[in-house]
Symmetry: C2
Subunit: 210 residues, 2 copies
């Protein structure tokens, strides 16, 4: 990733070349801004992060950040969606096999993301922002509701499927907080397989038990 | 609670009357400082709160805050212990009846605290601080480990009792975060009795199932 500024600034009516840089450079710049946004939100939290700071860190003009993403809230939503990329695949873990193994598949999927430091760090940053800022919480809530819980609920085909999915998610999220954020022992050092063995039947029960 | 300053400032060697105000006034001042501390930590979070700010809000000298509690970390620990007063009674919910009803008693106890706005607000503030600051997390971890989990584990008399208590706590904490912090529907508006009915067997299973 290079630090050079994009050739075409796209700040409203003054933009040259119809306001858009060529497609490949555009994708590169967009990625660079998203990475900078994720780092800024991680380090400073939602409230202390500014579009100006994200632009500076990405080596572009603030106007370009607004051009690609809109407001700070929208940059945050795009950064969440990127950071949550792996987590947003959770509904697939349900589709990929028989319903009576869904508990174990979901638990393995969830801890697979959290046990990997590369996917854990951005996830943790976003969760922290969502827990401490109402705007960030609203964005997080919308993404989780529409992209994860609703899709899981559709797979289950039960009338109270969304509540079931949320109580299963609560067990997983709570375990992640005690293990990775608060690091309470012995859970913090427990073998991941032991956690899978304990939680798979609980998640299964939430999702499918009558 | 009055706003007047205490008669005797106890800042080290210059303190009058052997450095301590009379007992009743002392208890009153101590409470006033703790309430101010809780409010400051709630509003500003751990990092942005200062002993000077707590002292100002309580209408006393910073030296008096140090005299009663020590460092900012120690003030935080005292504020947690006070805010968590109700929650620290959780081990009693286990002792108070037969072991096969412990799941329901713990879930009722936990949501009884969270459903009450007066006990929810300070709890939420402390949890947010613990999730976003490492020092605050360490204090929180020590209190939860020594005053809640270890005592529950002793009651259970099982070799892996602490891990069991933590996985049960994870289900409860995760549900509180989805319901009260992120307010994800339908969980956020679900009837407390419905939540008790769903979670009691899960918590019971974590704690006592072979």
């Amino acid at each position: 990733m290079t630090g050079r500024a994009p050739a075409g600034s796209a700040s409203g009516t003054t933009a040259r070349r119809r306001g858009r840089p060529p497609r490949t450079e555009s994708a590169d710049t967009r990625d660079r801004i998203l990475t900078a946004a994720r780092d800024e939100f991680s380090e400073r939290g939602y409230e202390k992060t500014s579009v100006r700071g994200i632009a500076k860190s990405a080596g572009v003009d603030s106007a370009l950040v607004h051009h690609y993403f809109g407001t700070k809230e929208q940059v945050f939503e795009a950064a969440i969606t990127q950071s949550f990329g792996p987590a947003l695949q959770a509904p697939r873990a349900i589709e990929e096999g028989p319903l009576d193994g869904v508990g174990e598949r979901l638990v393995r999927f969830f801890f697979g993301i959290w046990e990997n430091p590369a996917t854990r760090a951005p996830l943790l940053a976003i969760v922290r922002s969502a827990l401490t800022n109402e705007t960030a919480a609203a964005v997080f809530r919308r993404i989780i509701a529409t992209q994860v819980l609703r899709r899981i609920a559709v797979q289950l085909e039960l009338p109270d499927a969304e509540l079931r999915a949320e109580l299963a998610a609560a067990q997983l999220v709570g375990t992640a907080i005690l293990r990775y954020v608060l690091r309470i022992e012995p859970l913090a050092s427990a073998d991941p397989e032991q956690i899978v063995a304990r939680l798979a039947p609980v998640v299964q029960g939430h999702l499918t038990e009558p």
